[in-house]
Symmetry: C2
Subunit: 108 residues, 2 copies
């Protein structure tokens, strides 16, 4: 199957789509955390070392707009964020990124 990996127009190529999703500082971290298990706002904040509430809010909003994650309120009013199917489909990519980063961090 031929996939259009090349840019097909000014300012648009498949790579860039992914890059602009995973290039936001905290997005890949958030997705990585949610791959372990669904979490609430504050747990997610704790698990993402150093993110501010503001940026977490913005990131979650962006990821929701892009249908990568879902927000649901439980019966006890607790909030849960979890990945959509689209979000889960990023798992191999996220893992590859973590692996590449672990192996090459010292070389950069």
């Amino acid at each position: 199957m031929e996939l259009p990996t090349w840019c097909e127009a000014e300012d648009w190529c498949p790579i860039t789509v992914t890059s602009q999703l995973l290039g936001r500082k905290w997005h890949p971290v958030i997705i990585h955390r949610l791959l372990q298990k669904p979490m609430g706002f504050n747990e997610l904040k704790r698990e993402s070392n150093g993110i501010s509430a503001k940026v977490l809010t913005e990131s979650l909003e962006d990821l929701r707009k892009k249908k990568i994650i879902e927000r649901s309120e439980m019966d006890d009013n607790a909030v849960r964020y979890n990945l959509t199917d689209t979000g889960k489909s990023l798992e191999p990519l996220i893992n590859s990124m973590a692996e590449w980063g672990a192996e090459n961090a010292d070389k950069l």
Copy 2:
């Protein structure tokens, strides 16, 4: 083998290393182009639809500092940029990004 995919300190995790490399708007595109073949400045500029000379200069500089690409001057004074081994090791990641982007661009 256990790889440290998790953040090990404030402001540092393997995922973030990769994300900050591939998250710059044109970096993945440049790497993708150079995976096809080595190129000079202007050819690379033409092949990356829409990048400005300034940003291309900055990107190449950053990628060089990170040992992802190399710059060499040929005997005829022509310039060639090509990937280092570290840069080439990004190929599967770049391809996965292009693939994911092609498959999910419409859903975002």
